[in-house]
Symmetry: none
Subunit: 406 residues, 2 copies
């Protein structure tokens, strides 16, 4: 089965939006053993879109569209696909209801153009949009499959995985496993795995660098469940034997999720005080539902005044060693541990830049302090990159150090 991704939207061509959707969908399809040969992006123009659809129908079996399902004037994907295939659009009352409810709930007036989203191609399967107003659409026509998805990545991804992909029949059993690693670069990791990677199509093993970690994606195909599982287990064992120390999860989860589970498991609580990361650690951590069971509080002590008032850091220590120092990192963590009843307190202090660095303390210098009832220490790192990168790397390092000691 040959697939083509057709992205619709002037903003993808002209605008500031990178086309991450085509990329994401292609990856998902490849895990199912479906070959994507073409990405097409076309502006919001009915005639040009119609041409693109006709071209796609000639060369591909599966056409996945993203974008242009919304209520606005230039959202036209559904209309043009229906017209090109000669299928009528019919008002779907339950969708109409949902849209009305959505606006009631958010206390916003529903403009008339929103009703447009309730018209569906005759005989199509409707793909539920759980976090937006525009539903997706699945159409089979002349033994070709057309899948229309909304443009916003969150809506598109949820709909694709939960509702669209399950509708596509596949002949092989495919198993996908993602192993999460941290503390090693992608090329170094690839090098350690080189005799596993690339020399075979099944299993296919690939590495993906992603927000400061590197994921190893394993895709195996098998004629039946058992064979696929066996091959997958073997592959995981081989990988394990080579790089186990860098693996923090086999669950395809973020490092903070791993940390959260460990804390919950050990019934421990934690608190953070941050200077250079400015709340990135605690905000990343609080993305996890239910985190309140293990998180007591976070304090962003950006000013020295705040470090003294909130954490009891000594003026002398600040004057003698400077805010960015091992001593201050430790005093911050201990101060937080003492004022709370948590089991672990973590602190960060560093120079995120772009300015503020010097010979002795360069931009990228970061101390991470960790305090528990029977121990307090700081870890020194020097990170490369711009302000955001340094803040992100510090955050990853902090979570990594924590999950190691819990």
């Amino acid at each position: 089965m040959i697939a083509e991704i057709i992205s619709v939207g002037t903003e993808i061509i002209l605008g500031s939006t990178l086309n991450t959707n085509a990329h994401y969908i292609t990856k998902k399809l490849s895990y199912m053993g479906i070959d994507v040969y073409f990405h097409t992006t076309v502006i919001d123009d009915p005639k040009l879109l119609e041409d693109a659809i006709n071209i796609g129908m000639k060369r591909s079996d599966l056409l996945i569209f993203t974008g242009g399902l919304g209520p606005t004037y230039d959202d036209m994907t559904k209309e043009v696909v229906a017209k090109t295939l000669g299928i009528k659009l019919i008002l779907n009352n339950s969708i109409e209801e949902n849209i009305k409810k959505y606006f009631e709930k958010t206390n916003r007036p529903m403009t008339s153009n929103n009703i447009k989203q309730a018209y569906m191609p005759e005989g199509s399967i409707i793909l539920k949009n759980e976090i937006g107003t525009a539903p997706g659409i699945y159409i089979e026509y002349n033994s070709k499959i057309f899948i229309l998805l909304p443009g916003p990545p969150k809506e598109m991804e949820l709909m694709l995985n939960k509702y669209a992909l399950p509708l596509i029949k596949q002949d092989n059993i495919i198993k996908v496993k993602t192993i999460n690693t941290i503390g090693i670069g992608e090329s170094a990791l690839e090098d350690m795995l080189k005799d596993l990677i690339g020399n075979t199509q099944n299993p296919s093993i690939a590495t993906y660098a992603k927000d400061g970690r590197v994921d190893i994606k394993i895709i195996v195909k098998g004629t039946n469940e058992e064979k696929a599982n066996k091959l997958l287990e073997n592959t995981i064992e081989k990988i394990d034997s080579k790089i186990s120390k860098y693996i923090y999860s086999y669950e395809d989860e973020s490092i903070e999720q791993t940390l959260y589970k460990k804390l919950l498991d050990k019934n421990m609580t934690i608190a953070f005080c941050e200077s250079c990361t400015g709340g990135l650690i605690v905000s990343r951590f609080t993305r996890i539902p239910g985190v309140s069971q293990v998180l007591d509080r976070g304090i962003v002590t950006y000013s020295n005044k705040a470090k003294i008032e909130e954490l009891g850091v000594k003026k002398e220590t600040l004057n003698k060693y400077g805010a960015v120092s091992e001593q201050v990192a430790i005093e911050m963590a201990m101060g937080l541990l003492n004022k709370t009843e948590v089991d672990i307190a973590l602190s960060t202090t560093g120079i995120a830049g772009p300015s503020g660095g010097n010979e002795k303390k360069p931009v990228g210098l970061v101390y991470i302090g960790i305090a528990t009832d029977n121990n307090a220490y700081a870890i020194k790192s020097i990170f490369n990159g711009d302000r955001t990168t340094i803040q992100n790397r510090t955050t990853m390092k902090a979570f990594d150090e924590l999950r190691k000691i819990i």
Copy 2:
């Protein structure tokens, strides 16, 4: 002139490489008044590429190719373009020399396949590659323009700007302006602007929803600088007259940047205490370099205990009204204002979900508290979406409320 970007390479479709080239080239062309209607990406397959070229020639006047100019076997763009146009490839001695020199300079042995890069389509203009081995190519054929650029972004960008674009004659001056709005949905905004949008190609006005805000992008064309500027000013005035209350910046910047500038300008300081946003507000704010001049601290009081200890929220208030209430939001903000010396303190308390909601207090219910020396109040909102979306929307709303009162 209608342009199409054709990206060649299996790695762009399958790999982890995002297609940033097409994006970059499009932006450059749009500023020259050249309309890009299509992005096509095709894997390294001569037949499929040839088809893509024929399709491109039918619908576009300018075809810009990236990738597939290198020495390896699957680099085939130049060969396939030449074949499709029926143009001979001829060895170019000076290029052959340059390639040899390049390898001498880098002390690497030159493999024979590198000579492949010295063959050029007859009658084409060669585009110098100052930082790589593969030169670019400019061909005019049947009053269509073909430009072949290398895949590596650094090489491509330098060649495009320095050698390729100057060869394209342009008849218009182009001005681009982005206006940032917040507090209104994209469809509602478009509705308010509908008699400006779409009924004309020049100016072209489009809206783009982006991280909880909506940007309005204006592109005007003029036969000279003055005319273009005049049209741009007129367009901005018209937009202003309709939706000024939603506009927070004309500088194409984030809402937190606007807030930061206003605080700096008024020489004011701020502090945040967050419950449901879990530090997202302060971490977003501290992404801005130099923010320490206006930010005193941030406190993430996730537990009630922390709300009481850090902010002096009264037990009775928590018991009587619950943590998610107008009263607690106000006590949080006032508590923070009193313990610091800031001019403004902002608090958030809400139910980010997925669990924890009920009839009276549904998931998405959020109170934002604001306290200054002479005022303290809370704003109630009910946001839709998943946990992250609710946290993001609360954060945007918080920044929006602040920039309004400063």
